[in-house]
């Protein structure tokens, strides 16, 4: 089947699934259903109707060619910034959802550093209502403290009831250890994990890149790895003491990974995620002074990057999440020390994961089921979609063999602050299906 290309400016909604759709000859991967073979999946009225070795004779419905592609339950990105409410010039719930779909995701968790912050039932309701009919499931993460000010606990119970899937002051660290202790204690009543932005602000204030040889050579004040590590250590200890659940956002350092590994060995409920940019790039790329190499935590040393790959391999790192952080051109076209932290990530994730992890034998394509489908939903206590007869079709189809560059695709995000515009990628999302809707990624620009 073919879909007309649409611009995000005029796209108002996702397309309905045809009554009957066959995704033909795709490599199905679903660990729970023990699927790891080339099959054809037939979807009827938004539900999986059957899994066949070949397209059944006499099938008359629409077809989507899955030759050479992988079909998995829908991928989930548990760390995105959708900027609405407050910075709709950078991203909206709508454009962010389209960017997620174009990146191969059928669900995201959006962080609360909006304006106003997601620190009340009203904002949770606003986000859920605005995205109710989206193909992409948008799950709000609630702020730990009112206005993310780090001073007073936000109404966590009310927000949990309204549908928050976790709490976090992401973007800013919770400097007050007493408040972090209370947040862990309080949130465990609702089984909400705390997604920790691990950074000692005293150690990182007025600093702009990883501290090491390159920060020295470039004359840019450096953020030491210990600013992240002392916080991971603190919060693991607080987790052990309180019995709460703690998830480390965007882990970036070798000793940070070791701390999580030790915590897991002790049986503590500690999990962590890594971003594609941290497992792909190092602080050396800051030599370009390109402000799209500036993010928090910063790109670390190659030794740290190797430790992240090792952590992905041995299971210490549970999840791959993008930390999609759109910024306007004006903000990023500034001097390095004045530019804001953050890069977009939704639309480059599949390409980086396949080319940097699968192609380099760090992970098998089957392992992506845990890192991109199951683990994020387990951490957030969400149901994991399955490829099985009678289940709602919630699917991600990508082609691991396609090589491409970000500059050659039509991006659906409102912001394009990525260092990967010219970066060679392998593995491209083809389509996502969820909630009776379908999104087909447009072909490369000619």
């Amino acid at each position: 089947m073919s879909m007309p290309n649409k611009s995000y400016l005029t796209t108002k909604s996702f397309d309905r699934l045809p009554e009957e759709l066959a995704v033909t000859n795709a490599h199905l991967i679903d660990k729970v259903e023990k699927l790891d073979a080339v099959k054809t999946v037939i979807i009827k009225n938004g539900q999986i109707d059957g899994i066949h070795d070949q397209l059944p004779d006499g099938y008359k419905g629409e077809q989507l060619n899955g030759d050479g592609c992988v079909l998995m339950p829908g991928w989930f990105d548990m760390h995105v910034h959708l900027r609405e409410p407050g910075r709709e010039d950078e991203e909206t719930l709508q454009t962010g959802s389209f960017a997620a779909a174009n990146g191969g995701f059928t669900g995201v968790a959006c962080m609360p550093n909006t304006q106003p912050a997601i620190d009340s039932q009203e904002v949770i309701n606003y986000i859920l209502e605005r995205t109710e009919n989206n193909l992409v499931d948008v799950h709000p993460v609630a702020a730990i403290t009112c206005g993310r000010q780090g001073e007073q606990l936000a109404p966590i119970a009310e927000m949990a009831e309204a549908g928050a899937v976790a709490i976090s002051d992401d973007g800013s660290p919770l400097m007050n250890a007493e408040l972090m202790r209370r947040a862990l204690e309080y949130s465990k009543m609702f089984e909400l994990p705390i997604l920790g932005h691990e950074e000692d602000a005293n150690l990182s204030k007025n600093r702009h890149m990883h501290e090491g040889f390159y920060s020295t050579k470039l004359g840019i004040a450096g953020i030491p790895a210990i600013s992240e590590e002392v916080f991971i250590a603190r919060d693991i200890m607080l987790t052990a003491y309180t019995g709460g659940r703690f998830h480390v956002c965007h882990i970036s350092t070798k000793d940070g990974v070791d701390l999580v590994r030790q915590a897991k060995a002790k049986g503590l409920p500690v999990t962590c995620e890594v971003t594609p940019h941290h497992f792909t790039l190092t602080d050396k790329v800051v030599e370009s002074y390109d402000t799209n190499t500036k993010m928090s935590p910063p790109l670390r040393s190659d030794e740290d990057r190797q430790a992240l790959l090792e952590g992905l391999k041995d299971g210490t790192i549970d999840v791959i999440a993008t930390d999609h952080a759109p910024h306007s051109i004006e903000e990023k076209e500034a001097e390095y020390i004045y530019a804001p932290f953050g890069i977009t990530g939704l639309e480059t994730a599949v390409g980086l994961i396949i080319s940097q992890l699968v192609e380099q034998d760090v992970l098998g394509v089957q392992d992506l089921y845990n890192k991109c489908v199951a683990n994020p939903r387990k951490i957030l206590k969400l149901a994991i979609p399955k490829i099985a007869r009678g289940e709602t079709a919630n699917l991600t189809l990508f082609n691991p063999g396609v090589t491409w560059k970000f500059k050659d695709i039509r991006s659906f995000s409102k912001s394009q602050n990525t260092p990967f515009k010219e970066f060679p990628l392998k593995g491209k999302p083809v389509a996502v299906i969820n909630k009776g809707q379908i999104f087909i990624s447009p072909d490369l620009k000619k």
Binding site: K217, A221, Y338
Partner: protein, 310 residues
Amino acid sequence: MTFKEGHLLGLEHVEKEDIEFILKTAKSFREILERPIKKVPTLQGKTVVNLFFESSTRTRISFELAEKRLSADSVNFSSSTSSVKKGETLLDTARNIAAMKIDMVVIRHQSPGAPNFLARNLDANIINAGDGAHEHPTQALLDMMTILEKFDTLRDLRVAIIGDISHSRVALSNIHGLLKMGAKVTLCGPATLIPREIEKLGVDVSYHVDEVLSRVDVINVLRIQLERQDSGLFPSLREYHNYFGITRERLDKLTQPITIIHPGPINRGVEISSDVADSEHSLILNQVTNGVAIRMAVLYLLAGGENVNA
């Protein structure tokens, strides 16, 4: 190579042969500066803008004089606040400059990499006059020129850079330049002011100033910014002076005289005592004169000049 690309963004990417050529050219211009009429028509018709986003007196005047003595048309833009704070991006500022058809831009900026940014976005020769704690290449060139007026060669010369290395663009440019020219470089200062992993550049580091003074030929004494003591990097200026200040008593203990340079402006009584700054071993005022010659040479060579017919 940056210099041949038409910019001087830092010494890191300038080759030894180019450094030697700049120093040689500057020597010719130095002779012009001793003449009764100090002006040559070399850059007639060229327009240079001095873009200073950070307050500076001596570097700006030195560049202006160099431009005037080469007969270039020069204009000044000074702003102590960054353009971004005024609401205009550096890119817009750059585009405006480009629209005014300017040939060369001298930029001083508090953000490291600002000159690289201009070089990427402007069709003009860019000269870095100091970008944050990154580089200040003309300062290092004039430092080397001054040292070479006293010593025949920089090869195997032992040079110590003393003071706040972490926040110093002068230090980084000197390190790159001196190492390329074959000198041995030691850094000395409080551990809180020595940036991490700087040894990887090929320098050695010491925290003991007397030990360093006893084994070097030249010291480059850096200015201590008075506000550093408030940021908790060292306890007080008094303690700094007592443990790292270059004083007559310290120098009197040495068996051989030591040559002293300082990028200025001097905090007398902090990093250097007055009698040392004014002593016969101090080349501080020679540096200032050489600064004009070095900047003339850089402007001249970037504009496409090859040999000076002095």
